[in-house]
């Protein structure tokens, strides 16, 4: 396999000419009041995601990735900038966005099928209709046979698949995922990555993935937006020119390794800066 060239150091993420973005993020900023003063978590973040694209936002811990996730999902207001989804400004939770959270978010008192049908129930859909649709998405994530089980009877990876099926059942134009596989082991993570790739291919689903895992980002993405440590800014955009359809077998290719090494080269200094910052805070807290 030939090793594709890696994109340059642009800090914007331009779409091909004439492509209408499904998601447009412009000049996004978020600052928090803390006892130590104002902390700028995210500053001047701008990017666009086209329909059918899978874009990852990667950065070290504390760079504001989850803040961006919450702002795009309409759960937190931005301090500056704006978010547009399918031409509409996001000022709160939006029907065009389906969210998958880092923490396990299935409802423990509902079966797999009832969990997946939950958003449809909220929309007021008839029971028979919503269960039929829910069953379609249960099958899509490979959980048929487990539809009558409760989340406590499933593994962590299966529970996250329930969350993905539930978000997809909402028929969102864009799936927004915040480190959905962070708590899973590497092998499960790779296999679930395959499942996400398969779903994306089958549905043509637009996905924005927030992650700190370089391997996961390269395995899944069309583009990777690399963020700096606090204040979180997009410091580089990497086009991933690996062939599609893709599976986790891609991780053994030379090109994959080069992408991972290149992105780690960018992130290493930022991650070290974050670690130093955490150490200084821990020391100060210990002295206090």
């Amino acid at each position: 396999m030939s090793v594709p060239a890696i994109a340059g150091k642009e800090t914007q993420a331009p779409l091909p000419a004439g492509t209408r973005p499904l998601l447009l993020v412009e000049g996004l900023g978020k600052s928090f009041e803390t006892p130590e003063g104002v902390v700028i978590a995210v500053d001047g973040v701008s990017f666009a995601v086209a329909k059918g694209e899978l874009v990852s936002l990667i950065g070290p811990s504390g760079c504001g990735k989850s803040t961006v996730f919450n702002i795009i999902g309409g759960l937190t207001p931005a301090s500056q900038g704006r978010v547009m989804v399918d031409g509409e400004a996001v000022s709160g939770p939006h029907a065009a966005i389906g969210m998958v959270f880092q923490e396990e978010s299935t409802l423990p008192w509902r079966t797999v099928l009832d969990n997946v049908a939950f958003p449809l129930e909220i929309q007021g859909m008839r029971r028979s209709e919503r269960l039929e649709i829910a069953m379609h998405f249960v099958k899509l994530v490979g959980l048929d046979g487990f539809e009558r089980r409760y989340p406590s009877e499933l593994s962590g990876g299966m529970r996250q698949r329930v969350s993905i099926a539930r978000a997809l059942g909402f028929r969102p134009k864009m799936l927004l995922m915040d480190e959905p596989f962070a708590s899973l082991d590497e092998q499960t993570r790779l296999l679930l990555g395959d499942k996400v790739l398969q779903i994306q291919q089958e549905l043509g689903q637009t996905i924005l993935l927030i992650t700190h895992n370089i391997t996961e980002a390269v395995q899944l993405s069309d583009r990777i937006l690399v963020m700096s440590y606090r204040p979180g800014r997009i410091m580089r955009v990497v086009e991933i020119a690996l062939p599609r359809p893709r599976t986790s077998e891609i991780v053994s290719s030379d090109a994959f390794g080069r992408y991972v090494a290149e992105i780690w080269g960018d992130l290493r200094e930022e991650a070290s800066r974050g670690m130093r910052h955490d150490e200084i805070h821990a020391l100060r807290d210990a002295r206090a």
């Binding site: 969210m99 978010s105 409802l107 423990p108 008192w109 409760y150 406590s152 909402f170």
Partner: protein, 255 residues
């Protein structure tokens, strides 16, 4: 042969009954050998024999129904007033911060001591008994409802927000089911406190159900019959616990 092939050790109910039988046998032996004064604690066999007598002569089943009815009224009042009060305090944070410690103090207060006040307000009737039982059970139900609602995982609330749930939907579909185990713990505690006070006040004001009968039998120094009546009080408690457990499993099949 291991434990697996022995049905006795695999049945908690049988183990429980066997433990009770062993405890009764031990007390019987200790009384027979004089280690326990038989004028204070009657023989368990005499207590068992007294049961048919109190059913025939003392209308213990009617009194059982009276006490169970009063306890049920306490339970319904707790469900209808104390749980909504806990929800209100969860929503009204300022009021909650102001009164939460008072509610906590109320849980520890021996309310039965102010029964004369209730007598003045409600008179010597079942209303006084139910009112004191309710007051005694109020605090644990309010506090456990509050605790359960607060313990709802933020990610579930955010998930609900992402699906644009209304405030009412957030409550009925996420907050309440999430808090149910804690609310039921509160109801169990509330019913324990309530039943203790119901029987205690029946005893003190010599009115109503099993508490009054225990008072009568104690004054007649009919200890076997008195202990047998206490057994019926325990039966009320067991029935309410079993009922609550069934209700909880119906409302939330998996914990």
């Amino acid at each position: 042969m291991g434990e697996r092939s022995n049905p006795f050790w695999r049945s908690p109910a049988l183990v429980g009954i066997a433990s009770l039988a062993i405890a009764f046998a031990a007390v019987e032996i200790l009384i027979h050998i004089g280690a326990i004064n038989r004028y204070i604690v009657p023989l368990p066999s005499q207590v068992l024999l007294a049961s048919p007598r109190i059913i025939a002569e003392e209308d213990v089943l009617g009194r059982f129904l009276t006490t169970a009815g009063e306890a049920a009224a306490v339970g319904l009042l707790l469900a209808a007033i104390a749980i909504p009060l806990g929800v209100f305090l969860y929503r009204a944070q300022i009021i909650c911060a102001a009164v939460e410690s008072w509610v906590g103090a109320l849980a520890a207060a021996p309310l039965v001591l102010i029964y004369p006040l209730f007598l003045v307000i409600f008179g010597r009737n079942a209303l006084t008994i139910i009112a004191i039982g309710f007051a005694a059970g109020l605090a644990p139900v309010v506090l456990k409802t509050l605790e359960g609602l607060r313990a709802t995982r933020p990610v579930l609330i955010n998930m609900g927000r992402s699906f644009k749930l209304s405030r009412a939907q957030q409550f009925w579909k996420i907050l309440l089911p999430s808090a149910l185990p804690s609310i039921f713990t509160g109801m169990r505690l509330g019913l324990i406190f309530g039943l203790i006070n119901v029987v205690g006040v029946e005893f003190l004001i010599n009115f109503g159900g099993l508490g009054q009968l225990i008072n009568d039998l104690a004054e007649r120094y009919d200890l076997p019959a008195m202990y047998a009546t206490i057994g019926f009080v325990i039966l009320v408690s067991v029935l309410f616990f079993a009922g609550l457990e069934r209700l909880e499993r119906w409302l939330r099949p998996v914990q």
